[in-house]
């Protein structure tokens, strides 16, 4: 297990596109989250979305918008294994096909962990700058960091599955982005009046982070804001975890059934 982690680490550490995309993601998300207080719809109750504890909603919500970047990172990472035929070589060298997929899934977890830690640090920094109350640091709203983490792993797992399925980086990115549009069509047209639409994968993952904007808070449960304690919807988190398990299992199944 430690060997597998260090293998993935060697591959990522020396990959310049990994660093470029990661730093790019970090800079943009810093900028976007930092600008959140200038959004027009800042609520009356939480005057500043950058203060504790609302910063946890703001940062995770904004950062989740940019999930395309780490998804491309995953697709490139998997695509490399096929491009350099190292997927094949790993199996020849003695990894079982299942272990290979699991070792690649370590990359998903590594990237999601790095980004989540970054978002936590970013939130602490911005929250501290906005002069929030220290005791509100890890309020219930902190649960959205968990939500964000699951969302990240979820979306990345989905990108992972597509990359395993299509092998080629370009095609995988097109399919991945294309699916966003497909789900929009499914959500707004096909399942318009059906509860199914709330269980579409990306919709489930999106529901794990939540906009701090007032309108959203109102619609969240119909309760008035002061009475409502905002925290992660753990049911959605569980559905998200199931989707992750499905993506991983399908990847293992596909890879095992195929000649590499």
């Amino acid at each position: 297990m430690l060997d597998l982690i260090s293998i993935e680490y060697i591959k990522l550490k020396n990959n310049s596109s990994f660093w470029i995309i990661l730093v790019f993601y970090m800079l943009i998300s810093f900028y976007v989250v930092g600008k959140a207080d200038s959004l027009p719809a800042g609520s009356d109750v939480f005057a500043n979305p950058l203060q504790f504890p609302m910063i946890w909603l703001t940062s995770t919500y904004c950062a989740s918008f940019l999930v395309l970047f780490p998804s491309i990172l995953i697709i490139l990472n998997i695509g490399n294994e096929f491009k350099y035929k190292t997927a094949k070589q790993h199996v020849i060298d003695g990894l079982s096909k299942t272990t290979f997929i699991l070792s690649k899934f370590i990359s998903v977890c590594l990237i999601a962990t790095i980004i989540t830690i970054y978002v936590i640090l970013l939130s602490l920094f911005l929250g501290w700058q906005s002069g929030g109350e220290i005791q509100d640091f890890f309020g219930e709203q902190f649960s959205f960091v968990t939500g964000f983490y699951i969302q990240l792993i979820g979306v990345l797992s989905f990108a992972f599955l597509i990359a395993i399925l299509f092998k080629r980086t370009g095609i995988s990115i097109v399919v991945f982005v294309g699916y966003y549009f497909i789900e929009v069509i499914l959500y707004y047209l096909v399942f318009k009046d059906s509860p199914i639409r709330d269980y579409l994968p990306l919709e489930v993952f999106n529901s794990l982070t939540f906009s701090p904007i007032k309108d959203n808070l109102d619609s969240f449960s119909g309760l008035s804001i002061p009475e409502f304690k905002l925290s992660l919807n753990w049911f959605s988190a569980a559905i998200g975890a199931i989707y992750i398990a499905i993506c991983l299992s399908l990847s293992i199944l596909i890879f095992n059934r195929r000649d590499v």
């Binding site: 060997d3 597998l4 260090s6 293998i7 060697i10 591959k11 020396n14 990959n15 310049s16 490399n80 350099y84 035929k85 190292t86 094949k88 070589q89 790993h90 199996v91 020849i92 060298d93 003695g94 990894l95 079982s96 096909k97 272990t99 000649d259 590499v260």
Partner: protein, 297 residues
């Protein structure tokens, strides 16, 4: 002798063809086994199956005389088709990855780099390597952890004569260390020079197999010429020990049955009033054998 690899009626069917068809063979410990066949004859597919990257349609194989598991492959060093490395990583990092997969001490990297003569270039990126160096790095990777078996698929493909000579020296040295080597090649001289045993395959079928010396001297060949070639042909085909005949530029290449000797054939020609101008007994080169056997199949 211990059997390293046993393949039993292995078949791989693609929608339109059989890449491997009912292939059976057995490889003994310590031998250098050549899998000889033209391009597209199923060599790489066969190796892919025994190395776990492709699945067989039917048939079995077993390494080291037991049930297969992926960890067995850690005892096998293999180079399949092309050297597969990350181009953006240094040679050393690439070898580190292989060593970690096989569970081998990283100290072994220097040893294998020494064997293939790449020690000075280990910290350079793989993409800066020449084709020959890439191939040598792949062999170095295969040698990590002193594997019991080395599987090499066309290891000299695309190399210049010097590169070919270097790789062959490496293979021969490894073989002397007692490592069993399975070598797939379309180059006859390579198999002839390096291998102790050979299996010739075409269209996925085994045409013949045995020790290289058996395959080489297995045929009873005579070059014969005279002024009346047509008459010679006619008479020769009536000889009791006659097996096959081929017309070369200025002579006939006659294959005799194993039971018959060149002396009998010579006597027979004389009694039939054939004045021979050229009579040479020779062993068939692997090349001729190869071309002939693969043509009919």
């Amino acid at each position: 002798m211990d059997t390293i690899l046993k393949i039993d009626s292995l078949t791989k069917k693609y929608p339109s063809l059989f890449a491997v068809s009912q292939l059976s063979l057995s490889i003994d410990k310590g031998s250098v086994f050549g899998l000889l066949g033209p391009n597209g004859s199923g060599k790489t597919t066969t190796l892919g199956i025994i190395l776990g990257v492709a699945s067989a349609t039917s048939g079995n194989f077993s390494w080291f005389g037991k049930k297969n598991s992926s960890s067995d492959r850690k005892k096998i060093g293999a180079l399949l088709e092309t050297p597969n490395f990350y181009s953006y990583l240094s040679a050393k990092s690439n070898l580190k990855i292989s060593a970690k997969i096989k569970g081998i001490d990283l100290k072994d990297i220097d040893r294998v780099a020494e064997i293939v003569n790449l020690k000075d270039r280990l910290n350079d990126k793989f993409k800066t390597y020449s084709l020959g160096m890439k191939q040598r790095l792949a062999i170095a990777s295969a040698l990590l952890g002193n594997p019991e078996v080395l599987v090499l698929d066309e290891p000299t493909n695309g190399l210049d004569p010097q590169g070919i000579a270097e790789i062959r020296t490496v293979i021969q040295n490894i073989s002397k260390m007692g490592v069993t080597i399975i070598l797939a090649s379309h180059a006859l001289d390579e198999v002839e020079k390096v291998c102790s045993h050979v299996c010739v395959i075409k269209k996925g079928k085994s045409l013949i197999q045995g020790s290289v010396s058996d395959v080489l001297v297995g045929e009873n060949l005579i070059e014969v010429a005279c002024s009346e070639i047509e008459k010679l042909k006619e008479i020769t085909t009536k000889f009791s020990g006659f097996k096959a005949l081929k017309e070369e530029n200025h002579y006939l290449l006659v294959t005799l049955k194993d039971s018959s000797s060149s002396i009998e054939f010579s006597k027979y020609l004389i009694t039939n009033n054939i004045i021979i101008s050229h009579f040479v007994k020779r062993t068939k080169s692997l090349e001729e054998f190869f071309l002939e056997t693969t043509k009919d199949a």
